[in-house]
């Protein structure tokens, strides 16, 4: 679609009734292209409105995206800016983004690399995040896997398992009522652990909260009935 407003686009918003949405970023692309939907430009923002069919959008690399569909899947392929997604039941996949905010009721969420904050609110679908900065992930029953966290990590679910791997020492707040929790810290981390059932490996220095020993980070991990393991 030709942007004749003379104002460079800062973000693209996509709203679909029930169809799947696929956004692909393309380096050095000059114009946004849209298939299967209508588009309007208001200032520095484009709004794409799709129906029940598939909506496909091509945007320049690094573009901010705000996407919503009632039940279709959402895919963001390539490298985007700030990505925000709301869907009821479709699967969500984001390859690479500056920040991520995903809300879904039952869809599975897969996120590759996030330079900054990764925020996910889900219900029953599994959440799998590769590399990210700060992580804020909440589900009801979906398992949470955070594979390489470079900031503070918050992971909460009611009945699912939580696995957090920290790339650098950082605070971890993980809580589940019935699932197992595993937290892996970098070797040599000085960790203060606040968890009722803890197993720690020798590679960590565990700092007692009552001592004067300095710690790099605090791990708060609580499971009502599952095991908690910090390594």
């Amino acid at each position: 679609m030709v942007n004749d407003t003379q104002v460079p686009l800062a973000s693209v918003r996509v709203a679909s009734t029930s169809g799947a949405v696929r956004v692909r970023t393309v380096s050095e692309l000059e114009e946004v292209s849209v298939d299967g939907a209508t588009a309007e430009i208001d200032g520095d923002e484009m709004t794409v409105v799709g129906g029940s069919g598939r909506t496909e959008v091509r945007v320049p690399t690094g573009m901010d995206l705000v996407i919503g569909t009632a039940s279709g899947s959402v895919e963001v392929l390539g490298s985007a800016g700030a990505v925000a997604v709301v869907t009821a039941s479709g699967k969500v996949r984001v390859d690479d983004a500056r920040t991520v905010d995903v809300r879904t009721s039952s869809g599975r969420v897969e996120v590759g690399t996030v330079a900054g904050e990764c925020r996910i609110v889900g219900e029953s679908g599994r959440v799998d995040v590769g590399r990210c900065g700060a992580a804020h992930v909440t589900t009801t029953s979906g398992r949470i896997t955070l594979r390489e966290v470079h900031g503070p990590a918050h992971a909460h679910c009611v009945s699912g398992r939580i696995d957090v791997t920290m790339a650098v020492p950082g605070d971890v707040d993980a809580e589940t009522v019935s699932g197992k929790i595993t937290v892996a810290m970098p070797a040599g981390s000085r960790v203060r652990i606040d968890t009722p059932t803890t197993a720690t490996a020798a590679k960590l220095t565990v700092v007692d909260s009552d001592s004067d020993g300095e710690c790099d980070c605090v791990v708060m991990a609580r499971s009502g009935s599952g095991r908690v393991v910090v390594t």
Binding site: S11, R13, A15, T17, V49, V66, I67, G68, A70, A82, A84, V85, V86, A88, D101, R103, R119, V121, H136, T138, H154, H156, V158, E175, V177, G224
Partner: protein, 173 residues
């Protein structure tokens, strides 16, 4: 009150929900759960004094009324901050999540009904622990200097009976 006596007006509606309340009750028992609800009521009452009211309790959640978006937003932020501070001080065990919308409501006795209420409830469903989500209408109800820049886009959602998508924003904390 009959339909003819119902009052129509503009208001801001906020729904709150305690995250993990059912699980907390399972683990800690009914008495502890009641204690949490009592503490929540006290925290909210302090922040709402003179600027809004609790319309009704919905299990562990609350429905709140305010006369305008800016007033409701200020109060919702205060409630969020108050609960967060209480959690940090280990005086309150659960996080709260909130959703807000502004628009026309129909007053029915002590209650309010209408799509504005339905939308606010849907918005709260999408919030995470410690989050306040608001609709675009709430952001637009604010003056230029009133926290407009404090919001991050979340995305559009659909509500039954509403043709257009409802665009949501998160108060950045």
């Amino acid at each position: 009150m009959s339909g003819a006596e119902s009052v129509v007006g503009t208001a801001a509606i906020v729904f709150t929900d305690l995250v993990g309340f059912t699980a907390y009750t399972d683990v800690n028992g009914d008495r502890a759960a009641v204690d949490v609800l009592d503490r929540q009521s006290r925290l909210v009452a302090v922040e709402l004094a003179g600027c809004g009211r609790v319309v009704k309790e919905l299990g562990d959640g609350l429905m709140l009324w305010f006369e305008s978006g800016p007033v409701g937003l200020a109060a919702a932020c205060a409630v969020l901050g108050s609960v967060s501070a209480a959690r940090d001080a280990a005086e309150f065990p659960l996080a709260v999540r909130m959703g807000m919308h502004v628009g026309q409501v129909v007053e029915r006795g002590d209650d309010f009904v209408g799509q504005t209420v339905n939308i606010a409830a849907r918005v709260a469903d999408l919030a995470g622990p410690g989050e306040l989500l608001v609709t675009e209408q709430v952001v637009r109800s604010l003056g230029a200097g009133q926290l407009r820049t404090a919001f991050r886009p979340v995305g559009p959602t659909r509500v039954k009976g509403v043709a257009a998508p409802i665009w949501l924003h998160r108060l950045a904390t």
